[in-house]
Structures are given as structure tokens and as C-alpha cells.
């Protein structure tokens, strides 16, 4: 382990303070065409996954759009931080969003 990666592996993900936000939902429950703002990652349940998702651009406060599903509904392509990335349902469950559309 390098010194930098030790520092990086001890990061915790701060959740996004969404003013006036009432309903949070898991990204896995959104269908194609839906958009939302990322509110929180599953930092306590699975910190390694949460840190990786953060590094991929799934930062709390970022908008996200559900684009399309693969055959048999999994994985799903999302648009986040200006690019497109596919996640499986298991990882999408790690991401809490507040729906905007």
C-alpha cells in the first residue's frame, strides 16, 4: 500500500444536504428517463464501493439520469458527471437519490 492510497482509503463520503428534500429513493428503483440528484452513498454498509463510486463521479450533490437498461433489465446505463457508465443493480442500490423529474 502506498502512502497516498492509505490516505485515500480512509476517506468517508459526506452526504449532500438537500434542502426541502422529502423523499429519498434508491437509484435502483428509478426507470429510464428518470433524473435525480445523488444524496448519499452506502458509506457505512460498503465503504470500498462507496469510495469507488465517488471516484467515478457519483458524488453527493451531482445530478444523475437513467438512460437505458440492458436485456433482462440489468445492468443499467446512467449519465453522471458528463459521461455514461453502466452499473449493476447491486451497485445502484448503494446510491440514494432525490428525484427531480
Amino acid at each position: 500500500m502506498s502512502a497516498v492510497s492509505v490516505t485515500l482509503s480512509s476517506r468517508t463520503i459526506d452526504s449532500h444536504d438537500a434542502p426541502g428534500c422529502t423523499g429519498w429513493t434508491s437509484l435502483a428503483d428509478l426507470g429510464p428517463g428518470n433524473s435525480g440528484v445523488i444524496v448519499d452513498l452506502c458509506d457505512s454498509a460498503d465503504p470500498a464501493t462507496a469510495r469507488r463510486l465517488f471516484d467515478l463521479g457519483f458524488a453527493p450533490g451531482t445530478s444523475i439520469e437513467v438512460l437505458r437498461r440492458a436485456p433482462m433489465a440489468d445492468p443499467v446505463v446512467y449519465r453522471v458527471a458528463g459521461y455514461e457508465i453502466a452499473l449493476r443493480r447491486a451497485q445502484a442500490r448503494c446510491i440514494q437519490v432525490s428525484i427531480t423529474v
Binding site: 492510497s5 490516505t7 469510495r51 471516484d55 467515478l56 453527493p60 440492458a70 440489468d74 449493476r88
Partner: protein
């Protein structure tokens, strides 16, 4: 996926000497996958890259050199990474290479034990948000860093904007732009390469805490007046079709089918040309070489053996051409996306699909590509499955055998039967690989936690001619080197085994052979050769499959490399009828036993051979790499014995089923 089937058996050559080391500047390229990193590497170092491995692990190491103002600059292309907080072996390599606190004494190779003198970080201008996150981590290492912004042409096309001077001021490090490795863009970068110690460094390091980092990224983007590019309409429209649950799947299978049709139809005229050339060389040998031993060596071992394998260069080149074009366009990640659910039924993930697809070239890069899989369990399962994927070494064997089974030109309309049979063989290999992965994945259950799955869908891009050419040339070079080393060596040994012990005329006459009949004498020598002894020794094992001792020699010799099977049959046929080896193969008859004087290569025998080669792990290099990657002899032993048993049973079944249908 790195191009070429690097066998991973070489080590990085020691660079420079004690005299030049002081003057050599070492730079490393860091960047996320699809950020144009390898394109930049090829542009900077030309075709002079050397491949090797990092010590202890088998991550391929790409290093190239260039000269700037008389100073030698060595550039290392680190594996693509999204973060310095690693979750796979590839990413651990990057994190470790950038660690300024690494011990300088432990490793023997100074080039590896010290951090690079400078880092070139490639950042895709269209995904600057994410790229800045990685840059912030890289800056934490406090190694001099230069940012290379790529894909600015695409940014402009999609109406995004970026002020490079403002970005430079905001970051505090040099920023240059290089589009597609263009030489006109490289000048500014080249000017910087020689003196990384003079590069500007940020006064304050970027934060690591997540909320502060998000704020930092936001402020840098605002300062650089970054306008996020519009959604790439072209990509979106194409994806609406290519990723459509029905159309997308249909197009995927059509693409794969067309893939194998092309390998046959396009390569055929090129192969005819090579065959004609070797036939011409053979006629020269007949005309000018009077010594029968030398003549036999030249025409049987060299032209028959090596030439027989060289014929497949056009197909190998086409295979790699299509793989690298599909990869460069961005279709590979779409294919992985479409296949992910299917892969998950075997306990694997979409990225394992890419490793298995690389195995179509050669199992060795496929096995090495499993290092991008974070999960130890997935890695093992994919590694075990890789040798069942139809590698390019099987291609010559299949082409030869299909040629014996199906007449050229047979087909329904534009679809060639030969291509369809080939597609079926590839499919059988893939299904077997999935089944093996499923078993290995379930046996290895509990070998570590499930790790996150994610896969970037890059916009469709035209791959540069240079990167495709580099990949195709690299693969053909490796194939030719393999012919030069393993196959030539094996062919020479085989020729000796096939022609020794030498028989003089007196012995032949004693055995009742007409010494004036060339075909009869060469057949007599062959039947009494050492190779015949080996072939006959293993006959009890292969007899139920319909193989005679001549085929057995090929099967045993193909352990060195599968292509040797073709070379061996070429030699055996040439020994039987030196005038016309290709028809000799078709007309070859069984020498003894109940099927004596019947054709040897009947449909059931060819079907059995095809079935055998689908499954058998006939490759010592793959076994060696499996041993090294899995850390013990356990898995290669299990794989070799179980795949051999599977191959034998399948060959037996194929022989009986085709026999019953005939």
C-alpha cells in the same frame, strides 16, 4: 485490452547502462481508461515500445523511449486507473509506482524502485469533472506533474468550452493539449519532457476529503470557464439501436457471425498468394538442391512446417484488426454491457467478457487481462475459462480440418458453410468456457467479497489508424516470433524424429522396398521413424477416436503450440508424397488395422479432431501462465486433466455421432 499476445515470459530489459542512467529522464503516463493514454504513448514513443512485466505480478509493463534535446526520456504507460485508492491488481501497480516513499534498496531494478521523475496525466476534456478527481489524487504524490488534455476536438464539436490558460493557473501545473497524438500538438509537450524538475507545482495541494474535493473540482471548472459538452447525439442515436434489448442483441450476434465470415472470405485470396509463393520456393528447392537430406529438410521441415503456419498470418492479422477496431470504436464495452447478464449466470461480470474475448486472440493475454477484475473469485473463474475460448492458435488447425470436412464454396447463398462451421466451433468453445467459469466460480465461493461492477460507455470514436496498425503489427510480430522460436524448433525436432533412424538402400531392400520408388522409400522411413514409435505408443489412448499414429504425433507435438499440429501434418504428408502434400493429406489412407487402406481423414475422424481441439488444453505456455497467475500447480493440473478428459469424451462422441449420420 492491450494489443498483442504478449506471452508474459519476458522481463523488462534493463534500460540504459550505468553511464546513461544519470541523464535519463523517467516519466510515467497516468490516466483513466479511454482517456487517450495509449494513443499518446504510441505517439510519443513510436513503435519502439518494449513490453515486460512488473516483478512479482504479471501486469504487462509498456515502456518506450524518445530523445528530447539530446536527453533520453523513458516513458512508461501505466495501466488505466480511475483512482489511486486501488481495488484491482492493475490499480495497485499504479498506486505503488507513484509512491514517493517507496524503499529504494529493496528492489534490484532502480527504474522500478524509485518513483518516476515526472508524471503525464491524460485528461479527457469531455469528462473533465471525473478526470480532475483523479488528478487531485495524483497531485497528492507531489511528483512533478504535467496535464495533457485530450479529445478537445470532441469537446468543441459538442459545444463545450475550456480556457486552457485559466485551467493552468487554477491547477498550478503545466497544461498542454494533444488531440489524437497529432505531431503538431506534440511539440509543446515534447519541449517539456526533458526537465520535469522545472515544472510548476501547485502551491496548495488539492483536498482529499470528499466534500472539499467536490468543491475544489467545482472551483477549478468554474475558473477554467468549463462548459460541459452537449450530449453526443450521434452516440445516443447509435446506442438507441445497438443497446436496444432486442435489436442490440440481434446486431451483437450478427456482428460476431460476420466477424468469422470475414476471417474466411477476405483472407482467402491473400492465403492463396502465400501458398503459391511457398509452392514456388518448393519448386526451387527441387530444382537446385540435389542432396536428398538437405532437400527434404528444406522442403518438408522449413517450407512444409513453417510455411504451413505462415499461411495463417492474414487471418491472424484480420482477427486482431477487427478486435482493435471494435475496441477503438467503443463497441467492446457495449458488447460487455449486453453480455453482462449472461455472464452473471456463470457467476462472472461484463469485464470478464472482455478478458474472454481477448482469449480469442490468445488465452495468455486473456488470462493476464483478468487482473482488471477486482474479485479473486471472478479472476480464478475467468482464468480457468480462458483456455476454452477459441484462440488464434486453434484457427490454423480448424481451417485445415474444416477444409478436409467441408468442400470450399459450399454454402447457402452468401453464407459459406466453412464460415458457419467455424462460428459453431467458436460458439462451442464459448459455451464450454462459461460452463467452466460457472463451476470454478461455485467451487471458489467464499474466496472474497463481491466487488462493485461498473463499466464506462465511451462515446463512439473513430480509432486512429496508428493505434490500430500498432496493435495489428504487434500481434503479427508476436505470431511471427512464435513461429521463429517455438514452431521452428519443434518442426526441426519433428523432422528429425520423422526421418530417423536413417535407412540405407540395403536395409530397405532387405525389407522388400523398391528403392527406386521415392514414395515407397519415404513411406518406409516414416513408418519406422522414432516419431512413429511415439505415435504408436500413445495409440491405445486415441484409437477409439479414430486417430492413427500419424495424427497422434500431431496431437502430441501440438502441446508445444497448437499450430504445430498443422506443421506436423504438413510434414507427414510431404513425407508421403513430396510432390503434392495438400492432396496427399486428403488421400492419406490408414496403414494398418481394420480400416487399412480406407481414407484416414474421414468425416468422423475430422469431427473427432475438431471436438478434441475445442476442449483440450494443448498449450504449454498457457499452462505456465496459469501456474504463475494462480500461484500454484493446483489449478493448471485440474484444468489440464479435466479438459483432456472432456476433449476425449467429446471427440469420441463426435466420432460416433458423425459416423452414425454418414
Amino acid at each position: 485490452m492491450h494489443p498483442g499476445f504478449d506471452h508474459g515470459l519476458t522481463v523488462a530489459p534493463p534500460d540504459g547502462g550505468a553511464t546513461t542512467r544519470g541523464a535519463t529522464v523517467r516519466l510515467a503516463l497516468v490516466g483513466s481508461p479511454n482517456s487517450g493514454k495509449t494513443t499518446l504513448f504510441n505517439a510519443l514513443t513510436g513503435m519502439h515500445a518494449k513490453t515486460g512485466n512488473y516483478p512479482g505480478v504479471t501486469v504487462a509493463r509498456y515502456e518506450g523511449s524518445t530523445r528530447v534535446n539530446g536527453i533520453a526520456v523513458v516513458v512508461e504507460d501505466l495501466p488505466g486507473t480511475y483512482s489511486l485508492d486501488p481495488i484491482s491488481i492493475d490499480e495497485e501497480i499504479v498506486a505503488d509506482r507513484l509512491d514517493p516513499n517507496r524503499s529504494h534498496e529493496s528492489a534490484a531494478d532502480v527504474a522500478l524502485s524509485t518513483a518516476p521523475d515526472g508524471l503525464l496525466v491524460t485528461m479527457d476534456a469531455t469528462v473533465l469533472h471525473r478526470s480532475l478527481g483523479l488528478l487531485a489524487q495524483v497531485l497528492q504524490t507531489e511528483i512533478p506533474t504535467c496535464v495533457v488534455v485530450t479529445f478537445t476536438d470532441e469537446l468543441a464539436r459538442r459545444q463545450g468550452t475550456l480556457d486552457f490558460d485559466a485551467l493552468r493557473r487554477a491547477l498550478g501545473v503545466p497544461v498542454v493539449t494533444v488531440v489524437a497524438g497529432r505531431n503538431s500538438d506534440l511539440a509543446a509537450l515534447r519541449g517539456l519532457l526533458a526537465n520535469p524538475s522545472d515544472w510548476d507545482a501547485p502551491i496548495v495541494l488539492p483536498p482529499t476529503a470528499t466534500r472539499e474535493l467536490s468543491a475544489w473540482v467545482g472551483s477549478v471548472l468554474a475558473a477554467a470557464r468549463y462548459e460541459v459538452p452537449q450530449i453526443d447525439e450521434r452516440t445516443r442515436k447509435v446506442d438507441a439501436v445497438l443497446l436496444h434489448p432486442w435489436w442490440g442483441s440481434l446486431i451483437f450476434f450478427a456482428t460476431m457471425f460476420a466477424f468469422f465470415q470475414v476471417i474466411f472470405t477476405v483472407a482467402a485470396p491473400l492465403q492463396d498468394g502465400i501458398e503459391t509463393f511457398f509452392a514456388y520456393l518448393g519448386s526451387l528447392v527441387d530444382t537446385y538442391v540435389s542432396n536428398p537430406w538437405l532437400g527434404s529438410f528444406l522442403s518438408d521441415a522449413l517450407l512444409g512446417g513453417v510455411g504451413g503456419v505462415l499461411v495463417f498470418v492474414p487471418q491472424i492479422a484480420l482477427l486482431f484488426l477487427m478486435i482493435s477496431v471494435l475496441e477503438g470504436i467503443g463497441y467492446m464495452s457495449r458488447a460487455a454491457f449486453l453480455m453482462d447478464k449472461v455472464m452473471s449466470t456463470a457467476g462472472l461480470e461484463g469485464r470478464a467478457f472482455v478478458a474472454l474475448l481477448s482469449s480469442l486472440a490468445c488465452a495468455i493475454p486473456g488470462i493476464m487481462a483478468t487482473r482488471t477484475l477486482p474479485s479473486a473469485r471472478d479472476r480464478l473463474a475467468t482464468m480457468i475459462a480462458a483456455p476454452l475460448m477459441t484462440c488464434s492458435a486453434r484457427l490454423p488447425v480448424y481451417i485445415l480440418l474444416i477444409g478436409l470436412l467441408v468442400p470450399t464454396g459450399a454454402g447457402w447463398g452468401p453464407v459459406s458453410t466453412q464460415g458457419a462451421v467455424m462460428f459453431g466451433l467458436y460458439l462451442a468453445g464459448a459455451v464450454a468456457a462459461m460452463a467452466a467459469a460457472w463451476i470454478a466460480s461455485h467451487v471458489g465461493r467464499g474466496a472474497g467479497p463481491l466487488l462493485p461492477f461498473y463499466m464506462e460507455m465511451p462515446p463512439y470514436r473513430m480509432p486512429s489508424v496508428r493505434s490500430v496498425a500498432t496493435s495489428v503489427w504487434g500481434s503479427c510480430k508476436t505470431f511471427l516470433q512464435k513461429i521463429g522460436k517455438i514452431i521452428l524448433g519443434t518442426t526441426i525436432v519433428l523432422w528429425l524424429l520423422l526421418n530417423l533412424p536413417a535407412q540405407n538402400d540395403a536395409e530397405m531392400q532387405a525389407a522388400g522396398i523398391d528403392t527406386s520408388n521415392a514414395a515407397a522409400t519415404s513411406e518406409h522411413v516414416l513408418n519406422n521413424s522414432y516419431a512413429a514409435g511415439v505415435g504408436k505408443f500413445v495409440e491405445p489412448v486415441f484409437d477409439p477416436l479414430g486417430f492413427d499414429w500419424r495424427i497422434n504425433i500431431g496431437v502430441v507435438a501440438s502441446l508445444a503450440a497448437r499450430e504445430v499440429f498443422v506443421a506436423t501434418l504438413g510434414q507427414v504428408a510431404a513425407a508421403q508424397d513430396p510432390e503434392n502434400p495438400s492432396t496427399a493429406l486428403q488421400e492419406m489412407t490408414v496403414v494398418d488395422g481394420p480400416r487399412a487402406s480406407q481414407p484416414l481423414f474421414t468425416a468422423p475422424v475430422v469431427a473427432a479432431l475438431l471436438a478434441f481441439f475445442i476442449f483440450a488444453l494443448q498449450c504449454v505456455s498457457t499452462i505456465a501462465v496459469l501456474r504463475r497467475e494462480s500461484g500454484s500447480w493446483k489449478w493448471p493440473t485440474i484444468a489440464f486433466t479435466s479438459y483432456f478428459a472432456l476433449a476425449w469424451v467429446a471427440a469420441f462422441a463426435a466420432n460416433r455421432i458423425v459416423g452414425a449420420l454418414m
